[in-house]
């Protein structure tokens, strides 16, 4: 198996802002390789420098130390126009101009390739058409931007970036402000674009679960230490995702694929179907209930749902978990 071509590399990269003699370093010693044909997710807490990294890759911010190499050449040696033919972006700014139609916005993506007046050649037209088809927004093409939902607008912005036809697509939080279905759809779309159109797609996101499902590569950006890169599942097994969590009180649970509080394990004995047990444990953990008085245990019946608290042969029945939790809490107060 041949490995995928690397389009962007950096080593010993320091990011930050320089104003006069004042240097504000945001991230140090970054090292990465961005591959074509893959969806790469950049994850990290707010303020760790994800957006700064994006800006530096776009060539809008010079690195404080080190270099980013685009196709083997330092990015600072490219002109703005040259970069714009290689890298297209989707930013977090909302574009909602009513006088602009979806197709016109996608056509704006061709600006780096057109002449002085920006007239579209047949090649440009084709690229626009392809971008519209690849993002499944043909039915929206003639609508005005102000008529779109957030999810539709995001697809249109992705189409515009595709039309710009760079080898790299950078997206800053493309799934923020979207509902669950739209988040899934956008991520699947990005994955498809990476794989089918052979683009290097790099996104920043806070959507860990969906990212695990879709990403080919993770870049984890913890505070004050270098990037950790790898296949998401490898990183999970190596327990590396914990670097994203600031405090010791939380950890990434390998079994469930979720972030959990480092709580004491529950000592409560529950008898009943496994899938119901899980939710009862979850509800009890939320209420900080990890053990029952001595000689007491729970048994669950599936349908109709019933929860029995057994105490020395006697049992109390509850119709819902809430009733049970309320009962326990009352007990602890009195």
């Amino acid at each position: 198996m041949t490995s995928k071509p690397i389009i962007l590399t950096a080593s010993n990269l320091n990011l930050g802002y320089q104003k006069g003699n004042l240097i504000n370093t945001i991230a140090e010693n970054l090292e990465f390789e961005l591959k074509k044909g893959e969806l790469t997710c950049l994850l990290g807490p707010n303020g760790v420098g994800k957006s700064t990294l994006i800006k530096t890759i776009m060539g809008q911010l010079p690195p404080l130390k080190g270099q980013i190499y685009l196709d083997g050449k330092p990015i600072q040696q490219y002109g703005l126009r040259e970069i714009s033919k290689k890298i297209a972006v989707v930013l977090t700014d909302k574009i909602r101009m009513g006088t602009l139609s979806v197709r016109q916005l996608v056509e704006l993506g061709r600006i780096p390739h057109t002449g002085w007046l920006g007239s579209l050649s047949p090649t440009d037209q084709n690229k626009v058409e392809n971008a519209i088809e690849a993002t499944n927004i043909k039915y929206l093409a003639d609508r005005s931007l102000s008529e779109l939902s957030d999810g539709q607008l995001q697809k249109v912005m992705i189409a515009r970036a595709l039309a710009q036809d760079g080898e790299i697509l950078l997206l800053d939080e493309p799934t923020a402000h979207l509902d669950l279905v739209n988040r899934l759809e956008i991520m699947r779309l990005l994955k498809e674009i990476a794989n089918k159109e052979n683009k290097a797609v790099l996104i920043t996101t806070h959507d860990l679960e969906i990212a695990i499902e879709t990403a080919d590569e993770f870049w984890l950006m913890p505070c004050g230490s270098p990037l950790i890169t790898g296949l998401p599942e490898d990183l999970i097994i190596q327990q590396k995702l914990d670097v994203l969590l600031p405090s010791q009180s939380m950890h990434f649970d390998k079994k469930t694929g979720k972030i959990k509080g480092k709580a004491n394990d529950s000592d409560i004995i529950i008898k009943g179907p496994e899938f119901l047990k899980k939710w009862i444990e979850s509800a009890l953990a939320k209420n900080n209930i990890f053990q029952l008085p001595e000689n007491q245990f729970l048994s669950i019946k599936e349908s109709p749902f019933e929860l029995d608290l057994n105490k020395n042969g006697e049992s109390t029945t509850f119709r819902s978990i809430r009733d049970f939790v309320d009962y326990l809490k009352q007990g602890s107060i009195s």
């Binding site: 776009m58 809008q60 002109g79 703005l80 126009r81 040259e82 970069i83 714009s84 033919k85 890298i87 297209a88 972006v89 930013l91 700014d93 574009i95 909602r96 101009m97 009513g98 006088t99 602009l100 197709r103 016109q104 916005l105 056509e107 704006l108 993506g109 600006i111 780096p112 057109t114 002085w116 007046l117 920006g118 579209l120 037209q125 102000s146 710009q164």
Partner: protein
């Protein structure tokens, strides 16, 4: 952008513009029949020589001035609205018109305030044009200095507004100390006037218009990219600082020369680009630039026709007419459509 150029709208606009042009030549204290003027334009001589003088020496320069000023002001307004992504931006916001006003105020009123004598009526209108240009250039230089130091467009906009306010205050101080006669001269200038231009002035104005439009024509595509904001425009290869300089120089020349030649004319710069957007239903600057220019010429010709007060020898100040027509028009446009979404 693929939508076909709206040739029909442009043809209608040009016809309307021509119609208003001839109408402007026809009306005034002496009525010259419409047909006679149309005939004169295709080469037939007029029946009265006095008409010929009135037409060639007064009305033709005035109508041409209206067209030039209309184009200058609306094109500079269009650039500012797109660059600042602010529907309220116009030639006044960068303080350029106020700067021109300061130049003229110093020329006309400083004599009594400081005891200088800068202006003698014998030199005609040229010293006023020169003073206005110098004032506009001064503010332009200050703005350029700010633009060089500050990279944020919103800051630039606010600084421009503050310059305008400070300059207006200076004018008030000058007006307070000046004598009644000079104050009246300045007040008349500040009401704006399309008339009184010689052909030499028209040549100068036309030259300024061509020179000032050049930066926008050259960067037309960048203005389309700016529809998505600075960050996106930069990601599409637009050099923002070059665009900013181009915008400052272009609007400085256009709005500065219009104010120098005609005095301040309100509302054209803000209202006309919005009208062009609504009429042509597009955000594409390849349509909006000629569209705004055409609409600007039409609106200013129309305002001038109204200022003639048909059937009367009196004329109203053009600045008052543009405001009286412009303000209700903008209000109507805003109420009719969802303005912020259209922008």
């Amino acid at each position: 952008m693929k939508n076909k150029p709206p040739y029909l709208l442009f043809t209608l606009g040009l016809l309307l513009c021509l119609l208003l042009f001839v109408l402007n030549l026809s009306i005034g204290s002496v009525h010259i029949p419409f047909g006679e003027i149309a005939g004169r334009l295709v080469g037939k001589p007029l029946p009265k020589t006095s008409w010929e003088t009135i037409l060639i020496e007064y009305r033709l320069p005035k109508a041409v001035t209206a067209i030039l000023a209309g184009i200058s002001l609306s094109v500079s307004g269009l650039q500012m609205q797109t660059f600042f992504r602010n529907p309220l931006a116009g030639p006044y916001v960068l303080g350029i018109s106020s700067g021109a006003g300061l130049g003229v105020a110093i020329l006309l009123m400083a004599s009594s305030a400081f005891g200088w004598l800068l202006y003698q009526g014998s030199l005609g209108i040229w010293p006023i044009i020169l003073a206005a240009s110098l004032g506009a250039i001064l503010v332009l230089l200050l703005m350029s200095l700010t633009a060089w130091k500050v990279k944020d467009s919103m800051t630039l906009l606010i600084v421009g507004l503050m310059f305008g306010a400070a300059v207006s205050a200076l004018i008030s101080v000058l007006a307070y100390f000046s004598e009644a006669e000079q104050l009246k001269l300045f007040t008349i200038w500040s009401m704006g006037s399309l008339g009184g231009s010689s052909y030499a002035q028209l040549t100068g104005f036309s030259f300024a218009l061509i020179l000032g439009s050049f930066p926008m024509l050259y960067m037309l595509k960048s203005y389309n990219a700016m529809l998505m904001g600075e960050a996106y425009a930069e990601s599409m290869g637009v050099n923002i600082s070059r665009l900013r300089w181009g915008m400052i120089i272009s609007t400085g020349i256009l709005a500065g020369s219009a104010t120098a030649f005609c005095g301040p004319i309100a509302f054209i710069g803000i209202a006309v680009p919005h009208m062009a957007r609504l009429v042509f239903k597009t955000a594409d600057h390849r349509v909006l630039l000629p569209g705004s220019a055409l609409a600007g010429a039409i609106i200013l010709l129309f305002c001038d026709a109204i200022s003639q007060l048909p059937g009367s020898a009196q004329t109203l100040p053009i600045n008052a007419v543009t405001s009286l027509i412009g303000a209700p028009m903008v209000i109507w446009l805003i109420l009719r459509r969802n303005f912020s979404k259209e922008f």
